[in-house]
């Protein structure tokens, strides 16, 4: 992390985006401030913030891949080398990383966090879809049934009310 000062303004900018730090142009007079902010962010919750950001950003960019990415990154530390190769690659392309050191820390950061993160996210994605129709559908179905029952009952009342009235009339007329 001490090699921040060796980075280009562009790399600093990408890192700031990565850590979710709002920033303006990285120029001579603002650079040291941003380097300090970055160092603080890196010292604090570096793995936590960055993958979150890129994760959601990825969701926006390629909607169709949402469900495919999480399981792949899920593999954790052990399978880092084998499985998530493709994931690492896309991240490199996205953020134009040129320094290998950063790549490695970034990649491991992604896997560290996504190890625990994505599954709940996937679950929350699916649950509402299933629950919403259920909670909305059952009462609707019941409502129709109740409506039919009431209609039948009212018709029954109507028909039973008519017959006694007709009878007395017939009796009087006869």
């Amino acid at each position: 992390m001490s090699d921040l000062s060796a980075k280009s303004a562009e790399e600093i900018r990408d890192l700031l985006d990565e850590y979710g730090i709002k920033h303006g142009p990285v120029v001579g007079t603002t650079r040291s401030l941003y380097e300090k902010k970055l160092r603080e962010a890196m010292a604090k919750g570096s793995p936590k913030q960055s993958p979150d950001k890129t994760y959601y950003r990825e969701e926006e960019e390629e909607v169709t891949y949402i469900h495919y990415h999480p399981p792949v990154r899920n593999e954790g530390f052990g399978d880092v080398v084998r499985r998530p190769r493709t994931v690492e690659y896309t991240h490199e392309v996205d953020h134009h990383y040129e320094e290998p050191i950063i790549n490695r820390t970034q990649a491991s950061a992604y896997q560290n966090l996504s190890y625990s993160k994505p599954p709940p996210l996937k679950a929350t994605h699916q649950k509402p879809v299933h629950e919403a129709p259920k909670s909305g559908g059952v009462p609707g179905w019941l409502r129709v049934l109740v409506f039919v029952l009431i209609a039948v009952f009212l018709y029954y009342v109507y028909s039973t009310m008519e017959t006694p009235k007709e009878n007395p009339f017939n009796g009087i007329e006869a």
Partner: protein, 90 residues
């Protein structure tokens, strides 16, 4: 920033023109000297930095603390006065 100083009101009330950096609220002689040593001799040079930091008060306060050793109150006061100046004149 519940109360504003006379200096604050004076600065926010009119275009800053060529006012010195010490005209900024929160910047006294000592901080003004430090800023001048670093090339920020006019209030507008500090405004320029404020704008570069996208008028973000938090970033600006940090920058001012780093640059001239201002304390939180001084930096906050300066940030507030630049922000209000921008709201009226930018």
């Amino acid at each position: 920033m519940s109360t504003t100083s006379q200096k604050h009101r004076d600065f926010v009330g009119e275009p800053m023109g060529d006012k010195p950096v010490t005209a900024l609220s929160g910047i006294g002689e000592v901080l003004g000297k430090k800023l001048e040593d670093q090339g920020y001799d006019k209030a507008y040079t500090v405004l320029g930095q404020f704008l570069l930091l996208r008028k973000d008060g938090e970033l600006f306060v940090d920058w001012l603390k780093d640059t001239c050793g201002a304390n939180s109150k001084q930096a906050g006061s300066c940030s507030q006065c630049l922000k209000e100046w921008c709201d009226s004149f930018l």
